[in-house]
């Protein structure tokens, strides 16, 4: 996992909203959609967190300080921060899914008084895979936010926290389901389980928001590459209300 900080060379792009993404180009290799993962209060610092899975992400992850790359954006509809005002906020992140949620967490903490309870529930594969660990630890020291981390499995010697799937943390979290906005990001299976668990806890589908991923090309709603049923992820998302995508998520081939 690499975190890449980009300084604009030329006109700065528009300030990004939490949940938006940029298209990053590794010259000579190609382009990929990568979420902004930095603090939205510092729009001059474009921070991206990348997992090397294929050619583009590998090339981006290997960039040295001072190297050039291409950037277009920001694109897409982000997290519904305005809708969350005055309500409890439950954030459920899995694995790399914490990266696109990090700007939302910064925003919530910066405007803490605007929201009700704030719960951040994060599931990772193992203690070594926990993203932004130092930051999570410093947020945990705050008295006005609940941060809980769980891992799928851990060597006994290196972990004293929760072990189990992220949905088990929900049962212990304090929030008023009728007045809650949930923000969920992670692998699709994990998001389906989280949405179901949130629903069981009494959170309405309209109040659950998921960030979807599909391969992208144009990122501006023209090419149809990112089509997901009737919607384009790049233009209509990547953040969707669960009631808008629940039916689509059940189709394996989409």
């Amino acid at each position: 996992m690499w975190t890449l900080e980009i300084e604009p060379d030329g006109p700065a792009s528009a300030a990004a909203a939490p949940g938006q993404f940029n298209m990053l180009t590794a010259f000579g290799v190609g382009e990929a959609a990568i979420s902004l993962s930095g603090d939205p209060a510092e729009p001059g610092r474009l921070v991206h967190t990348i997992r090397a899975v294929g050619p583009v992400s590998h090339a981006l992850a290997q960039l040295r300080p001072g190297a050039a790359l291409g950037l277009r954006g920001p694109f897409g509809a982000g997290w519904p921060m305005a809708e969350a005002a005055g309500r409890d906020v439950v954030i459920m992140a899995g694995g790399l899914g914490l990266a696109p949620l990090r700007p939302a967490i910064y925003r919530l903490l910066a405007e803490r008084a605007r929201y009700g309870q704030v719960q951040v529930l994060y599931g990772a594969r193992s203690p070594a895979d926990i993203l932004f660990r130092r930051e999570l630890e410093s947020w945990r020291r705050r008295l006005d936010v609940e941060i809980e981390v769980t891992v799928d499995h851990a060597a006994v010697s290196d972990w004293r926290g929760h072990v189990g799937v992220v949905t088990t943390l929900l049962g212990r979290a304090a929030f008023d389901p009728a007045n809650t906005v949930a923000l969920v990001c992670g692998p699709e299976i994990m998001m389906r389980f989280c949405a179901a668990a949130l629903g069981d806890a009494g959170v309405k589908a309209e109040a659950i928001h998921l960030s979807m991923e599909r391969n992208m090309k144009c990122a501006i709603g023209l090419c149809g590459h990112c089509q997901f049923g009737p919607v384009f992820i790049c233009r209509d998302g990547p953040v969707f209300r669960y009631d808008q995508v629940a039916g689509l998520l059940r189709h394996k081939e989409l």
């Binding site: 694995g95 990772a124 799928d152 499995h153 851990a154 006994v156 004293r160 088990t168 992670g186 994990m190």
Partner: protein, 157 residues
């Protein structure tokens, strides 16, 4: 009946796992119960031992572990207050398939499995009540195991 016996019945009926339990069932079940506690690092039981108990956790944290060759002990689940440790007492051969270690100072109600099995056999209404409460624990464990096997956060997910 002594005061202590009444206390344990209250504790059992107030535990989240037995929430809403009818009074006669509460009496029968707590007849098999006793108060226990474990120091950090102390084991509740080991893999291969006879599973003749289960535990209602009242305080603390229990880590369920499996020894993996070359990797030491791996924790695959932690169980905390309001939750329950152990379903193996319910199903033959009544044997633990993992270790359970108190990760913190832990207070629990230990239930005698053979005692409760006898009562469930004699009173199927009680048996069904107990089954209904254990079934979700089994299903949740199964779903968690599915997610762990899929390794959803791994490179290929």
């Amino acid at each position: 009946m002594s005061g202590a016996a009444k206390d344990i019945e209250e504790i059992v009926r107030e535990h989240a796992f037995f929430e809403g339990l009818l009074e006669p069932f509460g009496k029968l079940i707590s007849g098999c119960a006793k108060n226990v506690h474990f120091q950090p690092g102390e084991y509740l039981f080991h893999e291969g031992d006879a599973a003749d108990q289960f535990y209602l956790i009242r305080q603390g944290c229990v880590a369920l572990e499996i020894k993996a060759p070359g990797r030491g002990a791996i924790t695959f689940q932690t169980v905390r207050e309001d939750e329950v440790v152990g379903v193996e007492w319910l199903i033959p051969p009544y044997r633990w398939s993992y270790d359970a270690r108190a990760a913190e100072f832990t207070r629990a109600i230990a239930m005698d499995g053979a005692c409760l099995r006898r009562k469930c056999e004699a009173d199927h209404d009680l048996g069904y009540e107990v089954m209904k409460r254990f079934m979700p624990v089994l299903i949740q464990r199964l779903q968690a195991a599915q997610m762990q096997i899929l390794d959803v956060y791994g490179e290929q997910a």
